[in-house]
């Protein structure tokens, strides 16, 4: 167990170092950082002094070590575009993205799991067929197109909901939330549905496939033969055994929700990290891009690590196999 955890941790650290290296290369070797900080009338001597002060003349390893140390403290330098610390900008944008992502994940689970169970249990009913057909269309519709269609219907034509922004927000310490105002709730509906739809179809299809597979196993047949109620068989035995992969995939999908948030945030002009990244790309704001890269890398590595460990805790078979391998 301990060896497994250590191995996974080392792997996570390695991945983070690679991501940091890419971000560092981006930050340091693309364009001249000095030219982006000073005005055109700064003399060459002044530039050289600044270069020396910032340590840009140090060796590669020294500079990289400093980059990692600063990054670990959330210090990514100044944004070229806004001339403010990048860490501060990210801290401002993060609540918006996290709120949207968790809302979407919640919606996806709330609708995806029951629909998956239903279509898995009633494979041939017309409602299942209809849900499956619609889900296929849902998979094929690009996220941004869903967003545009929702805006067209609910914001432009019907005028029920706002088409952009986060609505009124409330500050709680450094965290901002839109979930305490009616305006904020109205604003989050369309973006979170847009973001949730793809994940919902994914979870639904997964639950359905797992249910169908489990229902064919011997222990389910035996449970039926024992005369258990179908409720006990379906939910007590079948559903329980489908949940392990569902937990894993949902956890891993949380990462991809944050990635797809870039698209949703652009469509709805949602002031989160994704929109920040796209704007940074447009303005070639390298420090912001490097910081986003490290942040997203960290999110993914952390999620993968937690899911791996959870898997290990939830599924006893994995533990036993490992122990046999370790013991033998």
């Amino acid at each position: 167990m301990l060896a497994f955890i250590i191995q996974r941790l080392l792997q996570a650290v390695l991945v983070m170092l690679v991501v940091a290296l890419i971000a560092f290369a981006l930050f340091n070797y693309i364009g001249d950082p000095i030219a982006n900080m000073v005005g055109q009338d700064t003399s060459l001597a002044d530039r050289e002094r600044l270069r020396q002060e910032l340590g840009l003349n140090d060796g590669f390893v020294v500079q990289f070590a400093r980059f990692v140390r600063h990054a670990a403290q959330g210090n990514f330098g100044l944004s070229y575009q806004q001339a403010r610390p990048v860490g501060q900008i990210i801290l401002e944008k993060m609540p918006a993205t996290l709120e949207l992502s968790f809302m979407a994940a919640f919606l996806a689970l709330l609708f995806g799991v029951p629909m998956g169970i239903y279509t898995g249990l009633n494979r041939h009913s017309w409602a299942s067929q209809a849900i499956l057909a619609i889900s296929l269309v849902g998979v094929s519709l690009p996220t941004f197109l869903i967003g545009i269609l929702l805006i067209l219907i609910f914001a432009v034509t019907l005028g029920w909901l706002p088409s952009f922004g986060r609505g009124a927000i409330v500050h709680i310490g450094w965290w901002t939330t839109g979930l305490l105002t009616v305006d904020g709730w109205r604003a989050i509906i369309l973006p979170s549905i847009t973001l949730a739809l793809f994940q919902m179809t994914l979870i639904m299809r997964l639950v359905r496939a797992e249910m169908i597979e489990v229902l064919h196993t011997d222990y389910i047949k035996f449970a039926r033969a024992r005369g258990l109620t179908s409720r006990a068989v379906n939910f007590g035995h079948a559903l329980k055994n489908t949940l392990v992969p569902v937990i894993t995939i949902t956890g891993l999908q949380l990462g991809s929700i944050i990635a797809f948030a870039v698209i949703t945030e652009t469509v709805f002009q949602w002031p989160g990290m994704g929109l920040m990244f796209i704007q940074a790309v447009t303005f070639a704001d390298i420090p912001v891009m490097a910081a986003y890269l490290v942040m997203v890398g960290f999110f993914f590595v952390a999620i993968n690590l937690v899911v791996d460990l959870l898997y290990y805790v939830v599924d006893p078979r994995l533990r036993i196999e490992r122990e046999i391998v370790a013991g033998g």
Binding site: S140, L141, L152, G255, F300
Partner: protein, 319 residues
Amino acid sequence: MAELTASGTPSPLAAQPGRWRRFVDSDLLWSFSRSPATIVAAVVAFAIIGAAMLAPLVAPHDPYDLASLSLLDATDPPAWLKDGTWSYPLGTDNQGRDVLSAILYGTRLSLLVGCSAVVAALLLGVTLGLVAGWRGGIADTLIMRVADVQLSFPAILIALLIDGVAHSVLPRQVQTQITFYVLVAAIALSYWVHFARTVRGSTMVERNKEYIQAAQVIGVHPARIVIGHLLPNVIGPVLVMATINLATAILTEATLSFLGVGLPPTEPSLGTLIRVGNDYLLSGDWWISVFPGIVLALLILSVNLLGDWLRDAFNPKLR
């Protein structure tokens, strides 16, 4: 695909049953004719692809011909609505460009980017997969480690990062000329992993089979063994995967273009058209973005359906 290209005339080499006869009797066609959804998907896909390839012949206007544009015709609605004219069947965009013609040319670009990206990803993935599976050792560890790391991030995010970085790094002057290649490279670099893993797996199985050992014993050059004997035996599943990946590649291209890091408005793909139209959505000019969106969705859906069918048809377990 090989069967499809074989035309109705029986080749002199294929003796009695004739290629056409064999094609008609094949399991593939049988399973095709039994699946109405696949038939519809094939018709839709070939209609869209055909119209896009023939764009210069069938499009009512040339969207690249700036001289023919008139701002007086800007944001005309589709023909069946009030103020619409049949010379612009699906209306015009903000510059007076015919939406139908822009869609036809845009689909062509989207398909071109998608196909090029899949081919590039296929070449890269198959090569690296063969190297990893055949050589083993350090090469294998290195390639598969990179693949593992990359697989823990969603492909679309990797494409976005590569494309975004390239977009802000390259000088503006060069950018417009090489955007196409940057886009193809970004998509290819984010999708090669799946091909590489599949090829590596089957290469490691095939490597120990007798026909490979026999070739080695009689002294065939290793390069010839890999390309001539091994490759044909591992390529099948990968080609089926490529069909499904075509839909994903088109989707990725559209998304990147929509986000503004893909093809520029001067050479609009479907994604760029939707991006341009999105700015006019709030003023009620829905047709500029909705029609390209419908074509994009139909294209992806039909290619997805065809890919799924191909995968099932070639999977002996499901027969």
